[in-house]
Point group: C2
Chain length 161, copies 2
């Protein structure tokens, strides 16, 4: 069991801040229904993937953004409260994991019927190339995988084995 | 909308083969209940994460392997048939996505009661450093995120939006 390799410069506090900002911007874009900002966050291309709770893989940024447009069109209100956010940097790639505490409602739902849900998300970002378009994030999303968390799940269950 | 950047050498056929092999080795290790081989596949350290269907994030390879040991101890039989496997290479990182068609049974379950389930998985690998221990994979797992797929999910739903 050797120690970790020498820390790389990418693991800087500035990178962590930029990654947390990119992750927050992702959820804020969904809350606002801002497809343009969502598109600016995702890496353009076919080598991206997205899973919503209960779905299989959506692949390619065009397909992924069309699916987000459908999701956002069906919601009159959505709010994410992120907890347990963690950033893991690996050279020019980073993984942001978090719990999505979601409050949402559809268009024909009275405000009293807002629903809460808990999901866990794995968001993988790659460092944008030097020639990234203006307005795009310095870290671009290549994977979003969100899945439901059972009410019976206890965070420490895996740590007591 | 500019085209993709110039292909990097990591996107070689050899890398794809090695990644498919690492991904297959991961599921084969679970099927055999081979915790040592599973440990050789995961990157050592705290910067790894794992989600099983219905769970939140398990973080750090020690915690992740203990959870796998518990899962494997509870199963008398498990078989994965992987379909829809795709490899996306990003420099020294790669994402393998696939559908896990799982056949499994617990210890006190007669063979007639084997259960089938369908999950979708996102497996993120990083290229091992040059000094990786003997027997370890040239691509090491840093993320496994598996989640249940609803029976009503249609693969093309997101592509017709």
């Amino acid at each position: 069991m050797t120690g970790p390799p020498t820390a790389r410069p990418t693991r800087s506090a500035a990178d962590r801040e930029a990654l947390l900002a990119a992750n927050a911007r992702f959820y804020a874009a969904i809350e606002r229904g801002d497809l343009d900002d969502l598109a600016a966050l995702w890496k353009e291309g076919e080598d991206t993937s997205c899973v919503h709770p209960g779905t299989g893989q959506l692949r390619g940024t065009g397909v992924i953004l069309r699916a987000w447009a459908l999701v956002m069109a069906q919601l009159s209100y959505v709010q994410f409260v992120l907890t347990d956010v963690r950033v893991d940097c690996h050279a020019d790639m980073a993984v942001v994991t978090c719990t999505e505490n979601v409050l949402h409602a559809g268009h024909d739902v009275p405000v009293q019927s807002f629903k809460g849900a808990r999901a866990t998300a794995t968001n993988v970002f790659v460092r944008a190339a030097g020639d990234a378009p203006a307005g795009s994030s310095p870290w671009q999303l290549v994977v979003h995988h969100a899945s439901p968390v059972l009410d019976s799940w206890e965070p420490d269950a895996g740590e007591d084995g």
